[in-house]
Symmetry: C2
Subunit: 524 residues, 2 copies
C-alpha cells in the first residue's frame, strides 16, 4: 500500500494471499474475486454520484456485501455510516438525519424495520441476495455490481489518510446517540493495533495469519471491532455469519474450521449452551462490552474455549485487551483469571486512572478512579456536538466515565460505568465484581447490581438476580459473606437486598441496561 | 503515545513495563531508569544548543548510550546520523560533510579511527564509560547526563510525525555512499511492522513481548534493523552486545536468557563455530544482508537455532521476511528451506518483480526480474542527490537493482544484485543459488560466483571457493552435475572454472564484495 487508506490494504492482500476465502451464507469468494466485485461496485456507485464526502448509511448484518461496501466507499472517498439496527426507530432516524446520509443500503431482512427510514434519504439500494430486489425500480446491490466495470476508479488515488471515512454512533443509555467521525488513518490504526496486540502478547484470543476468523460483533460496532480491516490485512479466511443464532454459528465454526471469534459475554453464554454434555469447542474468543462473569469464564475453559477481555468503545476505539503478563505460565489458573478481568493497554495507547481532582490514583489494585485514555487515533470530539465533546475530550485525553482500578503491573480492571456505579458512604462499590461473584453461584444464571437510595449511606447496592433454580435470599447473602472471608469482596459491598427477576434488560450492545433496570425496579 | 514520534513510544513502555531490563556491558538499567537518563541528557543537550533540525552524528557500537541518544535527540527534534564505522575513512568523512553534522558523539573505542574526523565538526562529545573522558575539556556523555535535569524538554511536545529524524548512508560498492533522511513516521512504521510481521506469521524468528532481544546488527544499519524502536515498543528485555566477539555473545545469550538475535550469515557462522560438539543453542535468529547458504541453515537447525531471512535495505527499509506459508507444517524440512530462501512482503508492503520493459514477470518461481518495492514509508529519493534519486525512485516505487523470482504463492527469492549477476547467452544465472548449493559440499566453507567475460556467451560463471580441506575442481564439477540431475540447478549454470581463494573480500555490511573479488581475480 502506498498510502494509509482503507482500500489500499487490499493491494498487499492480493499480492500475498489472493486465494484466501470469504464465506458468507451460500456465497464463497476469494479475495481476488471480491476485489473484482469491489471495483465493479465502486465504478457503478461513482457514476451514480457517490464521491468524496458522500455519507452512505448501511443497515445489514455481517455479510460479504457489507464488507465490500467498506472498500468500495473507501475508493470513492465516501463516508460509510454503519447503522446500529438495534437502536430504537426514533434514535435510528435521529442518527440518519444527524449524519446527513444521502444514501441508504438496506438488507431485505430489515425491510419492515426500515420502512419509516425511507423518506429520510433521497437514495435507496436494496442489499438483496440477487439482482432482483423486493421492488422493481429500486436498485439492488447485485444489480449494481453486475453493471459496473472492473477498473479502479480514478478517485482511489486521490483519497488521503486524513480524509473522513467512517461514521458511527454510541448507544448511549442517556440522551441521543453521539456520533464519531473517524479518518482513514484513525480507524485503520486502531483496527490493526488490535491484531498486533493479540499477536505480540500471550493471550487467549491470539491472532495469526493462519487463523480463520468469524466476527460475531456486528459491523456497526467499530466495524466488528476492527475485523473488516484487520482480517483482510492478514489475508486470512473470513467467515461472515449473517443473521444467525448460536446453533448456526456453532455449525459454521465446525464446518469452516473457524479458530477465532469475537462476541459479547451473552453470545458466549448462548454458544456454550448449544454444546452437548462433554462436547468441547477449541476456539479463541475476544470478548467485551461488559465484564466476563467468572462463572462463564470457567465454563468456557472447561469446554476448551480460550478468551481474552477487551475494553474500549466507539468514542476512543480499542484501548486495552487482557494478556498473560510476561513470566506467568499461560496455562495457570492465575492466567485464566487475568484474561477474564485485567487488561493491558494496546501498544501506542496510554491509560491513566485518575481521581476527581485529576491526579493519578495509586497503582494498588484497590483504589477506584476514572479511566482516561490517550492514543494517536483519538478523535478531537463528537461529530457536530461541541457541548458534549467538551465534557469528554480534555487536553488530548478522553475521559471515559468508566471506573477502574490499576494494578501494580499497569493492568486495568474496569469495574463500572460511573453513572451505573454505587457510591455508599463515600466509597465506590464495584458492581462488576459483585455481579461476577454472584454469577459463580450454581443456582444463579445472571445478576446485576444497582444503587438503591439510602438515607444513611447515600446509596446501598441492590442485586437483581435471574436464577436457574429457586434459591433463598439468605443463601445468597451467606454465600457472599463467605467470599468476604476469602477476601474477594469487601463486607460493605454485600447487597442489603436481592430481587429475583425473569430477565435483565439489555442495551443494543448486549450490556445490561442499568438505567432501564433501575426504572423497572422503581428506583429511577 | 499521542503522536507517532519516536520518543512517544516510551510513554506506553513506562506505563506497562517500567521494570524491564536493559543490559549493556556492566550497566543494568530499567526502562524507568533509562527514561530518567534520557530526560537529563535531552535537557542538557537542549541547553547546549541542540534543537530542531540539528544533525548529530553518532559513532558507537550497540550500547545503552547509543540507544538513549535515539530518544533524547527525538525529544529535541534533532536528526540522528548513525555513522557507519566500517566505511573507509574517506567515505566516512564524506558522509559527515554531506550530512552537515554539527555534533559528533564518539565512543572512546573509536578514538584512533575518529581522529581525522575531529576537524570536520564544531562540537564533540566522548561516549566514555564514565564522566571522565579521554581528554580534559571535551564533554563526556556521562558528564552531560549528570548535569541535566530530569524534566521533559518543552520541544518534546512540538515534534511532529513528519519531522526529519534519522539520517544514514548506504554502503554502496560503487560511487559515494547515498544518504537517506527518514521522518519519524517512516522509521517508526517500518521498524514496528518488522515486529508485527514476525508476530503475525509463523516464522523461525518470531517475536513476542516475552522474548529477550540482543541485536547484533549494528545500529547504523537501519537502527539495528528497527530494534532500537521495536524492542522498547514491546517493553521487552534488551541486551546490548557492545564490541564483542562470538564467544562473548554466546556467553551473553546464556547468561541473560536471550531468545532472539539478528545478525548477518557470517556472524551466525561464527557464533555456531563457538559451540562445543553436540551443544545446542535454542535461539531465534533474523538474518539477511546476503543469502543464507543452505549448508549454514542446516548447521543452525542441527543446533536448535531457528531462523528467518529478511530482505530490505537502507533505501527502502524493511520489505520482506520469510515466513512459513499458512497450511504448511512449520516443523517440516520444506518449511526450513522456505525460511532460508523465500520471503513474504511485510504487511503494508507491495513487491513486484518486473522485466526490463516494466511488465510483471510470471509468478512461476523461475523467471528472473528486478525487484520493485512500494510502501507507505518509502522515501521520495536520496538525500541531496536528485540525480541518483531519479534512477531509483520511479512513480512512487523503489527499483532495487536486485534480481529475484516470484513464486506462485507470492513469495520472493532474491538471487543477486543486478550488477553482480551473471548473464550468459541472454539468460540470468542466479549466483546466490549456485553459491548456496556449493556451500553444502562438505569440503567447501564458502563460495562466490562472478561473471567471467566470454566471447560466445557474453559471460560465464566463475566460482571462487574457500575450502575447509583440499578438493579437486573435478569433484566440485561432478558434485554440481549431480545437483543438475536432481533439478536443483540448470545445466548451463555450472561454472566453467573454479578458483581457490584464501578469503573472500566482504563489504562493510558483511556481504561478499563482488566488485573487489572480480578485481582481485583480474576480471574487472
Amino acid at each position: 500500500m502506498k498510502k494509509f487508506v482503507v482500500h489500499e490494504l487490499l493491494h498487499h492482500t492480493l499480492m500475498n494471499r489472493p486465494d484466501s476465502e470469504i464465506v458468507s451464507g451460500p456465497v464463497r469468494l476469494t479475495y481476488e474475486k471480491m476485489y473484482e466485485r469491489i471495483l465493479r461496485l465502486a465504478d457503478r456507485l461513482g457514476r451514480m454520484g457517490i464521491g468524496r464526502g458522500t455519507v452512505v448509511g448501511v443497515m445489514d448484518v455481517n455479510s460479504h456485501r457489507y464488507l465490500e461496501l467498506h472498500y468500495a466507499l473507501s475508493m470513492l472517498g465516501a463516508v460509510i455510516h454503519t447503522l446500529n439496527f438495534r437502536l430504537s426507530g426514533e434514535d435510528l432516524a435521529y442518527t440518519i438525519r444527524h449524519a446527513e446520509d444521502e444514501w441508504l443500503f438496506v438488507w431485505d431482512g430489515f425491510a419492515e424495520a426500515a420502512k419509516p427510514l425511507r423518506r429520510l434519504v433521497p437514495n435507496w439500494v436494496w442489499l438483496s441476495e440477487d439482482a432482483e430486489g423486493p421492488e422493481p425500480g429500486t436498485p439492488t446491490y447485485e444489480g449494481l455490481v453486475e453493471e459496473g466495470r472492473a477498473t479502479e476508479p480514478q478517485s482511489a488515488d486521490d483519497v488521503d489518510e486524513t480524509a473522513p471515512y467512517s461514521l458511527f454512533y454510541t448507544t448511549g443509555t442517556t440522551g441521543r446517540p453521539k456520533g464519531l467521525l473517524y479518518r482513514h488513518r484513525d480507524i485503520l490504526w486502531a483496527s490493526l493495533q488490535m491484531a498486533h496486540h493479540l499477536a505480540l502478547h500471550r493471550t487467549g484470543a491470539s491472532v495469526r495469519s493462519d487463523d480463520v476468523f468469524m466476527p460475531l460483533i456486528p459491523f456497526f460496532h467499530i466495524h466488528g471491532w476492527g475485523t473488516t480491516m484487520f482480517v483482510p490485512y492478514l489475508g486470512a479466511k473470513l467467515v461472515l455469519p449473517g443473521r444467525s443464532g448460536p446453533r448456526e454459528q456453532l455449525e459454521l465454526i465446525r464446518r469452516e474450521g473457524v479458530t477465532w471469534c469475537n462476541m459479547v459475554p451473552t453470545q458466549l453464554q448462548m454458544l456454550l449452551g448449544e454444546l452437548e454434555e462433554g462436547e468441547t469447542l477449541p476456539l479463541k474468543v475476544l470478548t467485551g462490552g461488559s465484564p466476563l462473569p467468572t462463572g462463564l469464564a470457567r465454563k468456557a475453559r472447561a469446554r476448551d474455549v480460550s478468551y481474552s477481555l477487551i475494553y474500549g468503545g466507539s468514542d476512543q476505539l480499542g484501548a486495552s485487551i487482557a494478556v498473560v503478563p510476561e513470566g506467568m505460565d499461560p496455562a495457570s489458573p492465575e492466567a485464566d483469571q487475568i484474561l477474564a478481568t485485567r487488561m493491558r493497554a494496546m501498544p501506542m495507547v496510554e491509560i491513566e486512572v485518575r481521581d476527581k481532582s485529576g491526579s493519578l490514583v495509586p497503582r494498588d489494585g484497590k483504589t477506584i478512579g476514572e479511566v482516561w485514555v490517550r492514543s494517536p487515533w483519538l478523535p478531537s470530539g463528537y461529530y457536530k456536538d461541541p457541548e458534549r465533546s467538551e465534557e469528554s475530550y480534555v487536553d488530548g485525553w478522553f475521559r471515559s466515565g468508566d471506573l477502574a482500578v490499576q494494578h501494580p503491573d499497569g493492568t486495568l480492571y474496569v469495574a463500572d460505568r460511573e453513572k451505573d456505579a454505587v457510591k455508599s458512604g463515600g466509597e465506590w462499590i464495584p458492581c462488576g465484581v459483585l455481579e461476577s461473584v454472584l454469577s459463580e453461584h450454581p443456582k444463579v444464571e445472571a445478576a446485576a447490581v444497582v444503587a438503591k437510595p439510602d438515607e444513611r449511606w447515600g446509596a446501598r447496592p441492590l442485586a437483581a438476580v435471574k436464577v436457574r433454580e429457586p434459591v433463598e435470599k439468605e443463601e445468597l447473602a451467606r454465600y457472599l459473606e463467605e467470599r468476604v472471608k476469602e477476601g474477594r469482596i469487601a463486607k460493605f459491598w454485600v447487597p442489603d437486598d436481592f430481587v429475583f427477576v425473569q430477565d435483565l434488560p439489555v442495551t443494543s450492545a448486549g450490556k445490561v441496561h442499568k438505567a432501564a433496570l433501575r426504572e423497572r425496579l422503581g428506583l429511577a
